[in-house]
Symmetry: D2
Subunit: 324 residues, 4 copies
Amino acid sequence: MKKIAVFTSGGDAPGMNACIRAVVRTAIFHNIEIYGISYGYDGMINGNIKRMHSYSVSNIIQRGGTILKSARSEDFRTPEGRKKAFAKLTEQGIEGIVAIGGDGTFTGAKTFFEEFGMPIIGCPGTIDNDIYGTDYTIGFDTAVNTALEAIDKIRDTAAAHDRIFFVEVMGRDSGYIAVECGIGGGAEFVMVPETKTDLNKVVKSLKNLRKSKSSSIIVVAEGDEEGGGEEIMHKVEEKLKDADKDFKVTTLGHIQRGGNPTARDRVLASRCGMAAVEGLLKGEQNCMAGVVNGEVVYTPFADCIGKSKALNEDHLRLIEILSI
Amino acid sequence: MKKIAVFTSGGDAPGMNACIRAVVRTAIFHNIEIYGISYGYDGMINGNIKRMHSYSVSNIIQRGGTILKSARSEDFRTPEGRKKAFAKLTEQGIEGIVAIGGDGTFTGAKTFFEEFGMPIIGCPGTIDNDIYGTDYTIGFDTAVNTALEAIDKIRDTAAAHDRIFFVEVMGRDSGYIAVECGIGGGAEFVMVPETKTDLNKVVKSLKNLRKSKSSSIIVVAEGDEEGGGEEIMHKVEEKLKDADKDFKVTTLGHIQRGGNPTARDRVLASRCGMAAVEGLLKGEQNCMAGVVNGEVVYTPFADCIGKSKALNEDHLRLIEILSI
Amino acid sequence: MKKIAVFTSGGDAPGMNACIRAVVRTAIFHNIEIYGISYGYDGMINGNIKRMHSYSVSNIIQRGGTILKSARSEDFRTPEGRKKAFAKLTEQGIEGIVAIGGDGTFTGAKTFFEEFGMPIIGCPGTIDNDIYGTDYTIGFDTAVNTALEAIDKIRDTAAAHDRIFFVEVMGRDSGYIAVECGIGGGAEFVMVPETKTDLNKVVKSLKNLRKSKSSSIIVVAEGDEEGGGEEIMHKVEEKLKDADKDFKVTTLGHIQRGGNPTARDRVLASRCGMAAVEGLLKGEQNCMAGVVNGEVVYTPFADCIGKSKALNEDHLRLIEILSI
Amino acid sequence: MKKIAVFTSGGDAPGMNACIRAVVRTAIFHNIEIYGISYGYDGMINGNIKRMHSYSVSNIIQRGGTILKSARSEDFRTPEGRKKAFAKLTEQGIEGIVAIGGDGTFTGAKTFFEEFGMPIIGCPGTIDNDIYGTDYTIGFDTAVNTALEAIDKIRDTAAAHDRIFFVEVMGRDSGYIAVECGIGGGAEFVMVPETKTDLNKVVKSLKNLRKSKSSSIIVVAEGDEEGGGEEIMHKVEEKLKDADKDFKVTTLGHIQRGGNPTARDRVLASRCGMAAVEGLLKGEQNCMAGVVNGEVVYTPFADCIGKSKALNEDHLRLIEILSI
């Protein structure tokens, strides 16, 4: 293989740049020409493909965001769109692709491989950590720490005023970020989509808060079945009917998607990026390079998208026990 | 004066603890017994008053929140409530008070002084920076930097997706936080209550964004007359009618009230705290100890509450010029 | 088991407080009386043992340091000292102990168990990550991120002046922190005790730096056989004999031991703390509760101290390939 | 004036990029062609001068370092060197210059103006805050906060082990950074060049530390007459002769020069940059644009270099009183 390309797609995640850097430098190390596709699948269709060099990725390892940008692409969902994309790639002589993104990205990649046989390997770039085939996704650790720093600040003001704070964190349909933040933030409760949220239990507990525990933090994953942070706060306020308790809600929002990646995310991103390129060289394709139990593994896209990762049971117990 | 007390009131602000520490240690340095009133005016009424020592304030200089807590007090607004408070203070032999808070706190302090003649000096503890008599309030610098770090993270994700982000920051009825963040965050526009917001101008500018400036940040002060971040985003989206532009909004909320205070806030808090105690010793009363042009000044409560501080003209020009 | 005690010992590490909190609350959850021993083994000998409650550990989960303090104890190395310690514990009716620390702590614990049969389980609290029986130690992730933030700042100034910076990080005799920082910081080289450092190779590489790569960062583990950061910088400067290259060195020092723990450290600390208490209840003893491949495991102290964990080969390759 | 140039020189400081950005965009706002000189005076001599545009400074406001680099220039100290520099500038039609740096930079600028009459205005870019004509220099606030965060971490580990830590901070021959850090970090003592350091007083105080104040932080400015942190620690250890006290030293070093600039530094940098360009348009020259008491002022280079700014008396008192 002499020419490969790399792109980022889907929601951006801190560490994507570190991954791009690893892909570029590993390719150069193996004497392969490396091209960057900007704006994801849309850029592929538009031929937005440029040669990259070692210096193209200098000083980006610590930056959030992605120098190759990201975009949704309606066109790539159509056979014509994908045909155009393949034509542009062939024009440049691209023989293999590294796709950094989430399962939306991998769904497109899988289809593309099945239609055109273009070898393509993915790297798990998303803050949600809901991808099968890797213990952690690139961006998850940073998002959790960003949310946790925010919760630490909220804790200061909650304690000052004896307030009960509902904090909504990201995660789409998963509770990974919520659970890690819940434990790290010393939350009273964590509400996640994976388990049924019993609001009556929450209300009962808030009624009986220890005298010395006059402030509380309740973490809500955006995809919880009872609603987001604001909705749940109102439901609980309703049921509690206690004028003495003061409720507030904060939706952390998009700050969880940006910022300098943590050490874990930079290392994970680098390992996956290097593994993706070396996987292409070894003949791997239509799969994602992830890290499971400390080792690099290649998992078929079908499994990444199809299978699910359960939340850690121990973690759920921790929240219950440690909030007494 | 042999016995004085200190309390914090109103919205909490990072640096309040550093201020309490300065009050306590300055009092001890001058051989004065110092007492801490917990829960603000409410605590005063309930006699929640305890002796403090040098070690009571060890290791709190870097902490957000306030070890003396804060609370709203309906009772203190009544003459009976204030009579009870004065009785409790007299019981303990308190001869002077340091009140750390915002103009709500000072309004109560002024009334209390007029009714009972209790010497009382304030320290400007609020993130809003809208108090006359001091260039900066304790907590403002930290709140601005907290909001700025959040905006830096949002910038990463905005740039990755070519989005236009509306970011709502705190400030009650003032635009101080918004303006500092707007400049520091390289915002396209800043919308503040002090100036009339022209949405048409915003829309026109967004229509003509330079090709290479595909993402933008617009900072909105919560008290802007056109509404908060979410409301303004919808109005602009309405007027723009451009399917190509992608809008998002983030309301930073209460993270702006917490966190470790910055260096400026710790130094300002320490200076004001020391000045408040030494002011009481010198016979100052019914005023606030603030810092103007680098010097400590004592400003009558009436002025702190009544007069207003204009936004810096230079700052407003900066945003206009530097966002081209 | 009705009464257990907990203490911290050895070099402090961020997350120790989160671990103490987990031990205390898990004990209370299981209706066990929990006691805190201050100042480690020294405190044990002096009977510095106090009852702890749920509120004793409120608001400490995010704090660096340890509320139970730490101390070296010459006395505990003697049979008399340990006899005194056992007497003090028996006096209080302590039936089991959780020891949070590094292998120095576990060496003492193992001896203590062998002499008196006191059930004792350890939690891996040290920033060095050199303990067998757990993938990561409590405090490692925070120390790495602290060092990495420092390296990010150094990168700014190195790039501004085209300098070559040697950065010395902690790790005692291991290169774990150095390797993670080396990857995350985009270092040119990483020098660790586990591999032979070839200074001539470093010199040769610096001679041939790409035109666009005029600044470099070289990470040195404090235990490297060629010396610390300063010594190695002088050796390289000597061999390079290039007046054009500008060398600087920074020894990060003790900032790596403090600060708020990261999310990973808080979660790991909580899991280990809970597992230690529940281990005592299940009859585990003379072992350490750690996390390997995401699962809690109990490893005999002898192995924790005696066996070693190899550096990750992939990580070493990463540094070589990605610095081109 | 139709064409101006900007450069950075001397030790880099966080906020220099924000200043460059302000210069570039203010120039463009006034329809002036703006050129960037890389590598300071050296680049001027070598004709390293490039046209800049609005997008040249996109997304740099939050970055430490300087995109125009910095360098020492022996050649510029010679008349021939300066003649060459002037020739290169004239070649490009440059009619005015903005020089961002410290007094070394201004010394060269003053000489250059006197020899060739080239209008040149400076912006105070240095972390030392030792420049007359501005209350604060660009980079000072960030350096202080960086040092303060490090001291907060050291405080954690000092408290855990009852240690006395000497922390050396930057500042060249001034104690500004040391004093701000000393107050904000709750230091026992601060040793600065501006006041005579009495080591016997330090020793006496350490002997009498309150029982509950078993750990201490002593901040040392690098230019103190008794030596740097390490030297002073040994002198004190010598005099104290107390085996019970445990001493450590940390030299913070170059981390104080890098990192994202704080809000104050970004705003100050922006104001100075804009004022420098508008100053050139108004006919100001051979002076520095700084901010004093909230207003922009132009101060002759001779005064910036020649006059000194005294440390704030209040600040020195604070340290003494608040460390009891």
